[in-house]
């Protein structure tokens, strides 16, 4: 098995050093190519031959280094997802200790969720934006191995943030809060999944520099307002769904 290979960095032809132009390590080359191609075509539609050709490595290298196509996909996800979720929890802990005994605001908690995602979106060198789109699409993938993998990856983080929101919004029943968290995750993943999905909204003309960062700045207040909204009582329900 591949294990302790020293990762060396390719240097620019001019020898400026420091900047990684293209990873020389076979494993990294595969991960980078797979990340982009999985994002572009989805898991099933992306063949190992496409990946290995793009990565300029031998076809058998995937099975040698990762075991299988499924394990490669999980490796692609976990490479960035795990650090991002660690960042989120670390940030939340910092905010909590800063606040002391007073409960955090909704905005603070959402910030702890969004800032690490933003950091990835800003990261132009590594394919951070590619990854966020890939992640958004993985959320909606029906494949059981993907769903189970994501569940395990998110379990710890969800518990932490659920607890934080419970303190921040004590008047929201816990079941209602579960659903609202679900909606938050939904809007977030859908937004990250594809900027091109926006073309679906006719007559949409995004500003010239409309990047992922600005989108998240719009999304956060939207979600915070939803989280804080008064709980719909049974007597209010009829106003929503009465047929004419």
């Amino acid at each position: 098995m591949a294990s302790s290979t020293v990762q060396r960095l390719a240097r620019t032809p001019e020898g400026t050093g420091e900047r990684t132009v293209e990873p020389i390590d076979t494993k990294s080359r595969i991960l980078d190519a797979a990340e982009e191609l999985f994002m572009e075509h989805g898991f099933e539609a992306t063949s190992l031959r496409l990946i290995t050709t793009a990565a300029a490595v031998n076809l058998a290298a995937v099975n040698y280094h990762f075991g299988s196509k499924e394990e490669l996909f999980q490796a692609v996800l976990t490479r960035r997802l795990d650090p991002m979720n660690q960042d989120r929890m670390r940030l939340l802990s910092i905010y909590e200790s800063e606040a002391g005994v007073t409960p955090l605001t909704c905005e603070k908690i959402i910030s702890a969720m969004f800032i690490p995602a933003l950091k990835l979106a800003r990261d132009h060198e590594t394919g951070g934006k590619n990854f966020l789109r890939l992640l958004g699409r993985a959320y909606a993938d029906p494949a059981p191995f993907i769903r189970e993998f994501l569940s395990s990856q998110y379990a710890e983080m969800i518990v932490r943030f659920r607890a934080a929101f419970t303190h921040a919004l004590p008047h929201i029943p816990r079941e209602e809060l579960s659903w609202r968290l679900h909606f938050v995750m939904g809007a977030l993943s859908y937004t990250l999944a594809g900027t091109d999905a926006l073309k679906m909204i006719a007559q949409f003309q995004p500003g010239e520099t409309e990047n992922d960062e600005k989108v998240l700045r719009r999304l956060a207040p939207f979600l915070a307002a939803g989280l804080r909204s008064p709980v719909d009582t049974a007597s209010d329900a009829h106003q929503w769904f009465t047929e004419t």
Copy 2:
């Protein structure tokens, strides 16, 4: 080509009539089987052999009746999506004429979007719930032919509802409103896509009778609050995304 075949209905063995047990028409059998299998495994992972076996028809029947696998997928979507979007626009028109010159409330407009979806979710006979999940997953599918098809299917409806929201929320800039509509569609599709995705949220125990209808009743107020939330000014932005 298949065209003017009279669609006959299979009757229950007891001869009670009226209720369709299983469609006798080959085209319908294929559509029903494909709807369920595409929902379960996604487009790429669902083979024509799987579909035709489940539908108990010959393998070549798909290409004969629909032309190709892609066209079958579009037929599966359009069979229910087109009527649903027509319903939405019709309902919106009714609300508008009822309100006269006064602009509609956010809640009313959202109702016009949700009620037709609810009608499908309630429809246990036809696989309405299956379809909604399939639709939610199609939103996130990277395949170009799916994205283009959905764009064309939604174009008219989006224009109508954008206009309605513009009147209901005159204080929201049009670009901001485009994004908020995007978030609404995201949360909606993600919610419809999979109840099983909820298992990702640890410790989540849905109520016994937690059906799609109740979920949408929770989602609608959440989204309305987001739509109405005050627009974030530049001076407010720092509160969200300042690193510690």
